[in-house]
């Protein structure tokens, strides 16, 4: 999930308007930009295992993407309901939209009866400060409705609708993300096999990403500029990270969601097993301390993803890497190319 928080807008990057598979390639056939203090290198994602050392640990997000966009109907007629995050017992944080391309806010007062994917529901409350988001309580089987009527949430830059399978990473195990944790998308079984042979470990977390379509001014002043999302960092992952550290290996987070989950489980002194909801905002003012390296997609200017990258790499190094990526024609967004970088302190 990402929030626009600034307006700086350098020359427009190239957008991935479809998946590699729709371009006749395999999922691991994307480009890999590697940032180091000495400069940028342009590689293929398939070379990733060779760039890591035996004893390094990849931490991946096991969240699977939901078909979270449902056709809905209410007193205002037909609309679409994007299910961002399940709070429990049928209560969801949602984004009602006129259509995939046309956001709200929609005039749906608290208490309004609606139906989405055929399931009756009631608008419970607005999200504070963000009129386009509302808590909705369902009286029925939401997962079943999603499996019949749901589609993955898509944004306007996609040329062709991609099927749900294309929104799943090879790590996907626990359904719950409204938007794909996309940094894990280029991983394939063959890359995982090569990494395993090289002695690179894999550990997992879960962070279910909500919707990323927030707009400037959406966030209540003083509140973290992110929405609360479910996360879990299991004991096995905490132990794997500690073992990696002791042996001098590096911890590589696969995606900004993994960085946020790990930081949410860090209590200021140490990493502990942890689960709950988090809106931890990683930025230069609240920098990350757990992961040494980050594999991430290329993110739009002014999003909270970029604040996280700035915190990770340093602002100047990140801007240099992005200028290089724009000039070299890297593809942005969830079906695009990826970027490997390291925190300067431990690189």
């Amino acid at each position: 999930m990402s929030t626009r928080v600034a307006t700086a807008r350098p020359s427009a990057p190239a957008l991935a308007d479809r998946s590699p598979e729709s371009r006749g390639r395999q999922r691991d056939e994307v480009r890999l930009l590697v940032s180091a203090t000495t400069g940028e290198r342009d590689l293929s994602f398939r070379s990733l295992p060779d760039l890591l050392a035996p004893g390094d640990l990849l931490v991946v997000n096991e969240s699977a993407t939901l078909p979270a966009s449902l056709p809905a109907v209410g007193p205002i007629g037909e609309f679409r309901l994007h299910l961002a995050t399940e709070f429990g017992d049928g209560l969801w944080l949602t984004e009602p939209r006129w259509s995939p391309a046309r956001p709200g806010p929609l005039p749906l007062a608290d208490g309004t009866a609606i139906a989405a994917g055929g399931v009756p529901a009631t608008v419970v409350a607005r999200y504070p400060g963000i009129a386009r988001l509302a808590f909705v309580r369902f009286e029925g089987d939401v997962p079943a409705a999603m499996s019949i009527y749901g589609e993955p949430i898509r944004y306007g830059y996609l040329r062709v609708p991609e099927p749900l399978e294309r929104y799943q990473t090879v790590f996907a195990r626990v359904p719950g993300s409204a938007e794909m944790p996309s940094a894990g998308r280029p991983f394939s079984t063959r890359i995982l096999e090569a990494a395993r042979r090289r002695g690179i470990g894999i550990a997992s977390v879960v962070l279910h990403a909500g919707v990323s379509s927030l707009e400037p001014g959406d966030i209540v002043t003083g509140a973290p500029p992110l929405l609360p999302e479910p996360y879990a960092v299991p004991a096995a992952t905490v132990e794997a990270i500690a073992r990696t550290r002791r042996a001098g290996g590096r911890v590589i987070a696969v995606g900004t969601t993994v960085v946020r989950a790990l930081e949410s489980a860090h209590d200021g002194c140490s990493l502990r097993p942890s689960r709950g909801f988090s809106r931890r905002y990683v930025s230069p003012a609240q920098p990350p301390v757990v992961a040494d390296g980050l594999i991430s997609g290329l993110h739009a200017e002014g999003t909270t993803h970029l604040d996280l990258l700035d915190a990770f790499l340093g602002r100047a190094a990140r801007e240099r890497a992005y200028a290089h990526a724009r000039a070299a024609g890297y593809l942005w967004h969830e079906f695009g190319d990826v970027h490997l970088s390291f925190r300067p302190a431990r690189a």
Binding site: G88, L91, Y127, P128, P224
Partner: protein, 243 residues
């Protein structure tokens, strides 16, 4: 949904501020509500407003320090009544403007403790059988003043610190009865109490109580066993559960 399936909640101090916001949220979540506060009129106005939103609301004006009032609250539930949620929200700040502990009249200090610690515990004692029947939740509203030792906030802060320990202890003692107990610090909010702590000052930079809605949506849908005994900050960037 029939009236019998409806979850029932009691919120003290529900005529304004955080209590009113919570009552509204719970009403929209289809809880049947019993609301209290000392002054009848503001309380009736809130009840009317929530009924217009479709909520089932009863009011019982009274002071939480009054044993007869607390008994009346319990009697409203009936002899075999079930309670799903008790929110101890009514609270006493002490004299405004705030003053240092050396100048806090002991009568004020006793009153603060009476409202903020003794009354919440008394209400829990009174309602424990009904809470046990509902496998209910108790939410005690605390404050960061319970931890920080802010100058001027000593009486109020000490009462909230005591309430925090009451919450933690009760959580253990009531676990086998199936009752969960949490402490919630709502964070700074633009309310009458906050204004009384800063008389004459502009507090418009503080958020309205609605800023806590995502937290209530989260807490009230967690498994009670996973949250009992914990202390939460509603405006924090992370809410953790056990296990």
């Amino acid at each position: 949904m029939t009236a019998e399936d409806r979850r029932r909640a009691i919120v003290t101090g529900a005529s304004q501020g955080l209590g009113e916001l919570l009552a509204q949220f719970l009403g929209d979540e289809h809880y049947e509500l019993l609301l209290t506060a000392r002054r009848r009129e503001p309380l009736e106005r809130v009840a009317e407003r929530l009924r217009r939103r479709g909520a089932a609301v009863e009011v019982l004006p009274g002071d939480v320090t009054d044993a007869a009032h607390r008994r009346a609250v319990a009697e409203r539930l009936g002899p075999a009544g079930r309670l799903d949620l008790l929110v101890n929200n009514a609270s006493e700040l002490g004299p405004s403007p705030l003053r240092p502990l050396t100048e806090l009249p002991l009568e004020s200090f006793r009153r603060i403790l009476e409202v903020n610690v003794v009354a919440p515990l008394a209400l829990i004692q009174e309602l424990a059988p009904a809470l046990a029947r509902g496998h209910g939740r108790v939410v005690n509203i605390t404050s960061d003043a319970a931890i920080e030792g802010y100058a001027g906030w000593g009486g109020y802060g000490a009462s909230k610190a005591a309430l925090d320990l009451v919450s933690r202890t009760l959580a253990g003692e009531l676990r086998t009865a199936g009752i969960s107990v949490v402490s919630v610090d709502p964070g700074d909010l633009r309310t009458a109490m906050h204004q009384a702590a800063y008389p004459g000052q502009d507090i418009s930079d503080r958020p309205l109580p609605e800023v806590t809605v995502p937290f209530w949506a989260w807490l009230l849908h967690r498994d009670p066993a996973a949250v009992t005994g914990r202390r939460y900050r509603a405006q924090s960037d992370r809410w953790e559960v056990a296990g």
